[in-house]
């Protein structure tokens, strides 16, 4: 599902170039739940952004679902991300201006899907136990509820890949478990490939495979 070959990403700083990701190769099969752990600044979020097509690599190739992201222009990449990838971020995941249901429906509506979106949103909200909050604006939700709504939104277009960047970073254990259970269910029940970036070993335990990131380099857990 995900194929990274010798991927390097460097950011140009004033005096020095900073390597966020250095020569990383990675292969994740379809339906796998992979966690990438590492300290702050280790490059794990940049890795996730490269897979999501939000950043372009300085060198190397990124393939997702058999498509080479480097070959796509911005419009194609946006459409690909919208249809094939779901993303969950750590903070302010939801747009405060929309209700929970509208937030969940957003990627589908951006894709121009009209028919069946409401039913799908209702089912997703049931799955993440948020039916009773559908008409609420995000600021009335707890942090855990917000992240579950974000997971529902990430799944609305039935993506083949789900990317989550520190989704439990701001949650207590109870809410974190609830969100991670939803991610696990996405992999188990929908066959979704999940790439979870986290610094929490508790969160990483929900994954099938755990990778470590340090100074931009990736290694398998235990190496």
């Amino acid at each position: 599902m995900i194929e990274l070959r010798d991927v390097t990403k460097e950011f140009r700083a004033e005096n020095d170039d900073v390597f966020a990701v250095r020569d990383v190769s990675l292969s994740v099969p379809k339906g796998a739940f992979v966690a990438v752990m590492g300290r702050s600044g280790s490059g794990k979020s940049t890795l996730l952004n490269l897979v999501a097509g939000l950043e372009r690599p300085t060198s190397g190739s990124v393939q997702v679902a058999g498509r080479d992201l480097a070959a796509m222009d911005d419009a194609a990449l946006t459409a690909f991300r919208r249809d094939e990838i779901g993303v969950v971020f750590q903070f302010f995941n939801l747009l405060p201006t929309l209700t929970v249901a509208e937030n969940v429906a957003l990627p589908a509506r951006l894709a121009g899907k009209g028919n069946g979106v409401d039913d799908r949103v209702r089912r997703l909200l049931e799955q993440v136990d948020l039916s009773h909050r559908a008409a609420f604006r995000p600021h009335r939700l707890s942090g855990g509820e917000m992240q579950r709504a974000a997971v529902a939104r990430a799944l609305v277009n039935d993506p083949r890949l789900l990317l989550a960047d520190e989704p439990t970073g701001n949650l207590d254990t109870h809410y974190a478990d609830r969100v991670l259970r939803d991610l696990r269910a996405a992999a188990d029940e929908r066959g979704c490939t999940v790439l979870l970036v986290t610094h929490s070993p508790d969160a990483a335990r929900w994954a099938d495979r755990c990778l470590w990131m340090q100074d931009g380099c990736l290694r398998e857990d235990g190496e």
């Binding site: 952004n49 999501a52 939000l54 950043e55 911005d74 419009a75 946006t78 459409a79 991300r81 919208r82 249809d83 993303v87 971020f89 903070f91 302010f92 995941n93 747009l95 405060p96 201006t97 929309l98 509208e102 429906a105 957003l106 990627p107 509506r109 951006l110 894709a111 121009g112 600021h139 939104r153 990430a154 277009n157």
Partner: protein, 851 residues
């Protein structure tokens, strides 16, 4: 100061685009305000300079009604106790046919009496005999240095001049180097010997004015009374400054009108500063929190933002002064032309840069900018130490504030209604202007809550029309209420001014058009060509009057005279018309009653008819009596009717010509209206006049339709400055949209990043921003139309009526509202273009990381 330099100035220079837009907002407001004040001040200064220069050292001036004073008055004045010196003057405005009918004021003076009053430096060429030549040649002139320079005139050159309907060739005897006189009438002045002038102007044996100097120790008031007794009952004796004062008070209404309109641009600029400052506070909340944690006091934080406001005020005003001076130069001619058309002849060619006015403008710029920064600075001071940026708290607070503001706004609107009632009930026009500002303030204060309701109401509609982008745009409009409501209010104020003034001007134009159609009925109008150019009191030669009666197909000739008169010591325009012709063929628009009937009754009973403007100034109505100064003393006339006259705002009395001649012994005619028999050919009659009238080239012969057009042309010219002011206010409001949308995009960086991350294309993002800008435009339009309609009613029924004495029927033309919609919505969407592009260009991860 160090903090201001290190923190605030760095922010201001770090975001040059936003800083520049805010500065431009202040600069435009101040520029408009200053330019109108400078142009008005310069026109008035030009008039005062003319009065001063022409009066010289005169302490009193005697004038004598329509026919002026007899020659004998000169001797009588000299013999009056307490009088040291007297100078007789005749004066006329001539037109120079070779110089595009440019008006030139010719003063006829007695060169022997003059030195006590005015200093002349006559440059007469090598033989230095200018004064002698002026005396010796009955067609010799001393022209001003400016005129000589403009027209390359030298001593001995001929100058063709039209006086009334006759054209004469005069000769330049000397160039006037006097600084003092050269300033009068913007330098378009010439001096001739009094005897030659009397003959040329058709005023033999008459004087227009006597300048009087008092003996040392003599009381001006006592001498004035003695002179009035000596010169007869129709003479008016005044201090020269009184005339300038009268003109100043006459112009007051006109000036206040324009100043109030220009103040609106400053008002709109205030919104811009408020917005810019509060954006600054929100964006720098984290920094303020940090500064507070490091020991900066509440007062210090507040001071930092007030200083930023003062910086905007000072720098914006400096830019505004530079632009204002330039704009004043452009507006000067237009304002002078309007004042000439409405009140008195003024020539202004030089801008008077009054330092006090400039200082006042800068002070207003700084004070309004600081005032607009108060609320944001207070918010900054209330930031607890260490707090980081969270937008949600601001949104919640904004909707709570919106409710409180709405309550205050409704109270202000109620106050506006009360003030409007007071303005009409007690005839206090200034209260009308206060009501107009209260309407603007009231509507501005209810704008936030109306914007919130509007956004909520339009959400499903926008969703259906534009999909999720429309949904997001409507959401953003209400969520960023503290930001968007301010820009909606700015747009609303600009649009309401556009709607208010356009409806007023449109209604006024329609009323004038109807008035012209009803009252200008004669087939042909004739007046001396010189009056056409100079608006002066040039008289029609008697030979021409005889020719009019012989025009083929003629049915009636209405001979019209307008001369300066006085009532109860106040100047009026005293007019005479041929009432039987007016009753039979013409028509005036009377406030009450039928034209022919009133005019017939006035003729039969020796009564007068007066303009609406006179009734307001003299507090009179139909049936009342009005005292007029006549050569045989004051005489009371009953007012037979009050008619509408939109050509002047000055008080005018009209009586039958026979009555006027009997009392004032004046045969003069300024213009005639010729009525032809039904079926007669007006073009043929005009051609006949051009061939057969004596000195037909010196006459301006105009057909009915052309006069209609000319009246409307003068009308349109009068309101040209007003349209320019409206446009500038709209530009300021558009700057506000650009500024706000740019700031909102920076502020919503993370949200927009998430939107892109979950699949919004750049195009979709642009659509969200443009739809939001369009909604701001729509909200501004909807509220602006309501506010503008209220303003229009105020302008029509309170301000114009009380100030100018013009009754106008309100007419709501759909065109104004369509234009208004196009201006606000289209400009709002266009203003969103650059920010939309900027939003779409932002990198996604950069935006997400921004928090």
């Amino acid at each position: 100061m160090t903090l201001f330099r290190q923190v605030t100035l760095r922010h201001l220079f770090g975001e040059p685009g936003r800083t520049l837009v805010a500065l431009l907002g202040v600069a435009l407001g101040i520029a408009v305000f200053l330019s109108i004040r400078l142009a008005n001040g310069s026109v008035l200064a030009a008039f005062s300079a003319t009065v001063d220069a022409v009066s010289g050292k005169a302490q009193l001036q005697a004038t004598g009604g329509p026919k002026g004073l007899p020659d004998a008055a000169y001797g009588a004045a000299r013999a009056t106790e307490g009088v040291l010196a007297v100078a007789p003057i005749v004066q006329a405005a001539a037109a120079a046919p070779d110089w595009g009918r440019q008006p030139i004021t010719v003063l006829g003076v007695d060169l022997f009496s003059e030195p006590a009053f005015r200093s002349y430096q006559l440059d007469a060429g090598p033989d230095r005999a200018g004064a002698m030549r002026l005396l010796g040649d009955s067609r010799a002139l001393a022209v001003s240095g400016k005129l000589a320079a403009e027209r390359s005139l030298r001593v001995g050159d001929p100058v063709r001049l039209e006086f009334g309907a006759k054209t004469e060739t005069w000769r330049v005897a000397a160039i006037l180097r006097s600084d003092e006189l050269g300033r009068a009438y913007a330098g378009r002045i010439a001096v001739a010997d009094i005897a030659a002038a009397q003959e040329a102007f058709g005023k033999v044996g008459r004087l227009d004015r006597l300048d009087v100097m008092l003996a040392p120790g003599a009381s001006a008031e006592a001498v004035r009374s003695r002179l009035m007794r000596a010169l007869g009952p129709s003479a008016m004796v005044e201090r020269p400054r009184t005339r300038a004062g009268q003109v100043e008070s006459l112009l007051g209404a006109f000036q206040l009108n324009l100043t109030a309109l220009s103040a609106i641009a400053v008002f709109v600029g205030m919104f811009l500063i408020y917005n810019s400052m509060s954006i600054s506070v929100v964006r720098r909340r984290r920094e303020i929190g940090m500064l507070r944690a490091l020991g900066v006091s509440r007062r210090g934080a507040m001071g930092l933002f007030l200083a930023e406001g003062a910086f905007y005020g000072l720098a914006g005003s400096a830019l505004g002064v530079a632009a204002g001076v330039g704009m004043a130069r452009l507006a000067l001619k237009s304002v002078a032309a309007t004042v000439t058309a409405l009140y008195v002849r003024v020539e202004a060619d030089r801008l008077t840069l009054d330092p006090a006015l400039i200082g006042q403008a800068v002070l207003i710029g700084i004070l309004t900018a600081v005032a607009a920064s108060l609320a944001p600075a207070w918010e900054a001071a209330a930031t607890p130490p260490g707090q980081s940026a969270r937008e949600g708290s601001v949104v919640g607070k904004a909707s709570a504030v919106a409710f409180a503001l709405a309550v205050g706004g409704l109270a202000l609107l109620a106050l506006a209604a009360a003030m409007s009632w007071g303005a009409t009930r007690f005839r206090l026009p200034y209260l009308g202007f206060s009501a107009a500002f209260a309407v603007l303030g009231g509507f501005s204060m209810v704008t936030p809550i109306l914007t919130a309701w509007f956004a909520r109401g339009i959400r499903p509609v926008w969703d259906r029309l534009f999909g999720v982008e429309g949904l997001l745009a409507a959401g953003y409009l209400s969520d960023a209420l503290d930001r968007t409501a301010v820009v909606v209010a700015a747009l609303m104020v600009s649009l309401s001014m556009f709607v208010g003034v356009s409806v007023m001007v449109g209604s006024f134009r329609r009323t004038v058009q109807a008035w012209v159609d009803q009252t200008i009925r004669a087939d042909i109008f004739v007046q001396p060509a010189a009056s056409d150019a100079s608006g002066s009191d040039a008289l029609m030669p008697p030979s021409a009057l005889r020719a009019f009666r012989a025009v083929p197909g003629i049915d009636g000739v209405d001979e019209y005279r307008a001369a300066p008169g006085a009532s109860e010591g106040r100047p009026i325009v005293l007019s005479a018309a041929t009432f039987d012709v007016l009753a039979r063929r013409g028509s005036l628009l009377f406030r009450e009653g039928h034209s022919a009937e009133i005019v017939r009754r006035a003729k039969a009973r020796n009564q007068i008819i007066v303009t609406e403007g006179l009734t307001l100034r003299f507090n009179k109505r139909e049936g009342d009596t009005l005292n007029l100064s006549t050569p045989r003393g004051p005489r009371a006339f009953r007012i037979a009717g009050v008619f509408y006259d939109y050509t002047t705002s000055g008080p005018t009395v009209v009586m039958d010509r026979a009555l006027y001649r009997r009392i004032w012994d004046d045969d003069g005619v300024n213009s005639v209206a010729l009525y032809l028999r039904p079926g007669a050919d007006a073009n043929a009659a005009m051609a006949w006049l051009a061939r057969n009238a004596p000195n037909a080239q010196g006459l301006s012969i105009v057909a009915n339709r052309d006069l209609h057009d000319r009246v409307l042309r003068i009308f349109d010219q009068t309101f040209r400055v007003t349209y320019a002011l409206e446009l500038i206010s709209i530009v300021v409001a558009v700057l506000g949209i650009i500024n706000t949308m740019t700031a909102l995009i920076l502020q919503r960086g993370r949200e927009l990043g998430i939107l892109r991350a979950v699949g919004a294309t750049q195009r979709q993002l642009k659509r969200v921003i443009l739809l939001e800008s369009g909604l701001i435009g729509l909200a501004g339009y909807a509220i602006g139309v309501a506010c503008g309609s209220a303003l229009a009613l105020l302008l029509i029924y309170v301000i114009n009526k009380q100030f100018f004495g013009w009754t106008v029927q309100a007419r709501w033309t759909p065109g104004v509202f369509v234009q208004g919609a196009a201006i606000t919505v289209v400009t709002a969407v266009l203003a969103g273009l650059a920010p939309a592009r900027q939003a779409a260009r932002r990198g996604i991860t950069e935006a997400i990381r921004a928090e």
